[in-house]
Structures are given as C-alpha cells and as structure tokens.
C-alpha cells in the first residue's frame, strides 16, 4: 500500500491570475516563489511550496500533491497503482524544488501528484498579510463520500478520523485530524481549503487583517466539533471558501487510537466516531452566515445547526 505522509501543495485554475496573485500575496500572506506567464508558485513564510495557480477559463481545484517517504520507490508505486487499476505516470514538470512526481487521477477526477524529494524555496521569507504556517486540508464535495473515502484509505493509506452521519468524512494521513475531507454533493466540486495559523492570537491578527481589507468573515470565529479546530472562513476573489484554523485535533499515536486529550473535547477520550449533524459543527461560536452556505448543493448540512 502507498502511504501518503503530508499534503504538499494544491493547484487551482483561475481566470484572473493577477487578481489571485494579489490576494494570495497581500491577504493570505504567501510569497511568489516562481512566476511564468500563465502559472505561479507560492511558498509559505517557512519556505514550503504551498500553492500553484494556472490561468484557465473557470476557477477550479485541479491538483493535489502528497508527500511519500523517500524509501518508497516510484516504480513499485506505479505497480501497486496498476494492481488497483489506476494508471500512474512519472513526470518532471519543473515544479520548483520538486524534481519528480508520480501522477494519477483519484476516483473523482482530481490529479494527485506524489512526490518524495523536495526543497525549501527560501527561509525567513518576509510576507505581507496573514502568513499561515502551512496548507492544512482540502475539502471537496463529491456524489459518494464513502467511495472517495474508500479510495483514499485503500490506495493512499489514509485513515478515517470522523464521519458526520453518512455525508461528511474527515481523513488523516498523519497526526492532523484531517488532510482531506469529502462532503456529499450533487457533483464533484471544490468545497474549501484550509491553512493553519500559529494560535488564537494569530487568528485574531487574521480577523484584524480581513477587517482592514473589508473581507467578510462568513463563518466564525468558532470552535468546530469534528476536529475541534478554531476556525474562520472567508471567500477569495474567485468566490472560493478559504479557512484559517488552529488547534486542530492531533492523533499523536495511531496505536493509542485517540486524539491528544484537550479540555474542549466532548468525549473522554476523543476517538474517531460518527457525529450527528447537530453537534458536529460547533462547540462554540456563531452560526454560519448565508454567504457561507451560498452555492452549496450538499444535503441539509451540519453547518445549519448549532
């Protein structure tokens, strides 16, 4: 089995590359690491590749990169994928700091790039804006979250951290409670992407910056049930939902099987479970605004309940 270890970077297509660059540089606080005519790469202030934008007709989340261990050799991964009926292809496409990637499509049509070797793109990078520590997770709406969950578990070695009833699944590939999550929707569609902040003070600084930039917080600040992270959501210029979070649950030891105990946990200890929609959304905080729900075709969802 392939074992994904870490989420690397996500790739988005955008009709207005300059507008998105302005947003990611001056609101989110990433640094342009490489720029081509129709493509741009961003690094976090820590120096890790975090985001790739490509010029295209419609906004879309196109690719997701996952790190595997250097001991995993690409040829045997290709064979293992083939055994699951998946065609993997090794490619070199001049992604900064990442010489080689193994690419295949997941069951919902997102390109997955596995990589083992990577370099920091700088150090102590000064950034404008909020300055998250890392890319945390990517959530997609899919018609069948169980099928996508099975795919990520069987093919990529993810583990289920929580379900909300039978419509929203959270999967981990390391100690973070979730790195990918899938909510039921009528079609395959980007749901939100989340970047980790240092702590609640950093969250306050993010709120101040969004306030200053007159960007509405469409949900939060609050603390979620599933994952127990402190969160705020807003929309970027392509109308995509961006989350900032901190204090996400950690599964520090898979064999112990419970999340590192915290005072805000509902269960003692907090283990992976099936939440009901009324308790999963919020431990505390405001209800989502209508702008958070806009454009959703998901089932009557957890967010509508307090």
């Amino acid at each position: 089995m392939i074992k994904a270890r870490r989420i690397g970077h996500a790739t988005f297509e955008t009709p207005d590359l300059d507008r998105q660059i302005d947003y990611y540089e001056h609101v989110v606080g990433f640094k342009v690491a490489a720029r081509e005519k129709d493509r741009v790469f961003f690094a976090t202030k820590t120096g890790q590749l975090v985001l790739q934008l490509e010029r295209a007709g419609e906004p879309r989340c196109a690719r997701l990169a996952l790190e595997v261990a250097q001991t995993d050799d690409f040829e045997s991964i290709v064979k293992r994928l083939a055994a699951d009926g998946i065609k993997g292809e090794v490619r070199s496409d001049s992604t900064p700091g990442t010489p080689k990637m193994l690419t295949f499509q997941d069951n919902k049509g997102t390109a997955v790039d596995l990589f083992a070797e990577w370099k920091f793109l700088g150090r102590d990078i000064p950034v404008d804006g909020i300055g998250p520590l890392k890319l945390g997770h990517l959530a997609m709406a899919v018609p069948d979250p169980k099928a996508t969950s099975d795919f990520y578990c069987k093919v990529l070695g993810f583990r289920v951290s929580d379900w909300i009833e039978d419509f929203f699944v959270f999967l981990r590939c390391n100690s973070d409670h979730h790195t990918v999550n899938f909510i039921r929707g009528n079609s395959v569609k980007f749901h939100h992407i989340a970047y980790e902040l240092k702590d609640f003070s950093h969250m306050q600084a993010a709120c101040e910056w969004l306030g200053r930039k007159k960007i509405d917080i469409i949900w939060g600040p609050g603390r979620h049930g599933a994952g127990h992270n402190i969160f705020i959501y807003h929309r970027n210029p392509d109308d995509q939902i961006i989350e900032f979070y901190t204090e996400l649950d950690k599964m520090l030891d898979e064999d112990l099987g419970y999340f590192d105990p915290k005072p805000w946990h509902v269960d003692q200890p907090q283990r992976p479970k099936v939440w009901n929609r009324k308790s999963a959304g919020l431990v505390w905080g405001p209800p989502p605004t209508p702008d958070f729900m806009r454009g959703r075709d998901a089932p009557p969802s957890v967010e509508a309940h307090r």
Binding site: S201, G211, P263, P286
Partner: protein, 297 residues
C-alpha cells in the same frame, strides 16, 4: 462639581439567589466575598467588590456605585447634587469594605452610591470559570439618552466618548472608552453589563468555557466599532446580556483628546465622534444572533 473616577459595583435583584451565586462563582468566575440569607457580595480575583445580589421577586439592576477622589467632600457633593435638584444622603456600611457612601437616584431611577474609601476583599482568592479583571461598563436602555448623557456629564463629570446616530451614547469617567452607555428605547431596562478580560487569549478561554457549559454565544467573537473592543456576549441566569471584552479604546490624556492609536482604528487619530448607525456596530466578526436582540424593542 463631582468627578466620578471609576465604576465600582453593580447591585442586582434576583428571584433565585442560589442560581445567581452559582452563575457568578462557577461561570463568570468571581469569588463569594460575603453571603447573608437574602444577599451576596462577589469580588474579582483581584479582590475588588464587583456585584451585590439581593433576593427579590423580579430581576432588576437596582444600583451602581462609583468611586470619587479621596479628597472629595461628602457635604460639598451633597450641595452640588442639591443644586441640580437631586436629594442625596450619606449612608454608612452599605457594602463590605465601604464605610461611607453618598446615595441618590439618577434620572432613570437607578440608585447611585458614591464612595471614596474601600478595601480589598479576600486575599488572592482562587476562582473557577472566566475570572474577569474588573467590571467594565453597564449599558441601560432609556427613553432619552441625551438627557441621561447630560446628567452623567454635568452632574457626575462623565465625558462623551461616542454617539451612534442620536440613539446610543458611550460615556467615560477615566481612560476606558466607556463605563456607562445609554441606548434609546421605550422602557428603562438594563441593556447589558460588561466585564474586562486580560486579552484575546483570555476571551478564547471564556469561549471554550461557554462551549463546555453549553452556554450559547449570542454575539461574537467580534471587534466592535465604538470602543473597538473585542467581545463576546452571552445570557446569564436571569437572562441578562453579559459581555466579556478586551482591548477597549483608552483615552490616555483628556487634553490630547484622541484614543490611544491602535492598528484597527479607522480614523487617524480616533477621536470621539458620531458614528453612522449602519457602519457602527463591528469591524469584523459574525453578526449578532436573534437571541442577542430578544426582549429588545
């Protein structure tokens, strides 16, 4: 001229004294300084008297106390009040640690007590719950906020920090942006009471406590407009709206006349002004929930 310098404590009537004591000692995080059959006094962990509770049939905010300079002479203040048509009397031992007060009523019928001498209560008492640093302000719904602002200004020496339109006034008696505020409504009623926390992390601890106790946050966390405080609101045992806040604007020097500059100010410098109603309420954060407005006109 009377110069009020600090808000002291607030007195609440409550039909269920035990429930009220439980809220203040287990949720808000005050220490029980004294308890009688029909009365209780609560102090902050620092030891300052903050809340007096009295058993009564209906919940009501009945009284507010304010500190005046130690040099203030009680008979001079009595004369000053009489000059404004307000009858005041000197009373003794109305609260623990306060040997002498000057008592009168403000125009909306709230009992006011002015004091100079006070002592700390308790000795570094440990508290559970939120544990605020102090009582920050009391807001009242009144029929005529302009009339209240004039009384608190002319008679008690308060200054206007901000107006929202012509219906909500914020008044300070020291560096804090407001210690009392008055909003226009049909009936006189306490609007909300606010306690100061250390910082935004303390506010997070408070929110986590609300989550554990399943107490809904009815508004916030937000950064408000007038006063620029970060705040979260909930309802207490008697359904009163209680605010916990940090980072309230400070008028450090009355002669400079602007609030200590902060990155979140929209005006540079931020001076007392009249805010437009539609832009006033908050800088960032969620809108108030319907439960925040419940019981309001």
């Amino acid at each position: 001229m009377i110069k009020v310098c600090r808000i002291g404590h607030a007195t609440f009537d409550t039909p269920d004294l035990d429930k009220a004591v439980d809220y203040y000692t287990q949720v808000l995080g005050l220490s029980l300084a004294a308890r009688e059959k029909d009365r209780a006094y609560l102090a902050t962990k620092i030891g300052m008297l903050t809340i007096e509770l009295r058993r009564a049939s209906e919940p009501r905010c009945a009284k507010l106390s304010f500190e005046v300079p130690a040099s203030a002479d009680f008979s001079d203040m009595q004369k000053h009040l009489a000059g404004h048509g307000v009858a005041a009397e000197i009373r003794s031992d109305t609260a623990p640690g306060q040997p002498k007060v000057l008592a009168f009523q403000d125009p909306k019928g709230t009992d006011i007590e002015l004091f100079t001498e006070w002592s700390y209560l308790g000795n570094g008492a440990q508290v559970v719950g939120i544990g605020p640093l102090k009582l920050g302000h009391l807001a009242f719904a009144v029929q005529d906020p302009k009339q209240m602002a004039e009384f608190y200004g002319k008679v008690l020496g308060f200054r206007v920090s901000d107006w929202i339109g012509d219906f909500f006034v914020f008044m300070r008696c020291n560096a804090d942006h407001h210690a009392v505020n008055f909003i226009a409504a049909k009936n006189i009623k306490m609007h909300h009471m606010a306690f100061e926390l250390r910082d935004f992390s303390h506010l997070q601890n408070a929110c986590d406590l609300f989550g554990q106790r399943k107490i809904p946050i009815i508004w916030g966390p937000v950064r408000l407009g007038p006063g620029h405080n970060v705040a979260a609101f909930h309802r207490d045992h008697d359904d009163w709206v209680i605010e916990v806040y940090a980072e309230l604007d400070q008028m450090k020097d009355e002669d400079l006349g602007y609030f200590d500059p902060r990155p979140w100010h929209m005006d540079r410098p931020q001076r007392p002004k009249v805010w437009q109603a539609d832009k006033a309420s908050y800088m960032w954060g969620p809108p108030p929930t319907p439960d925040f407005f419940r019981g309001r006109e």
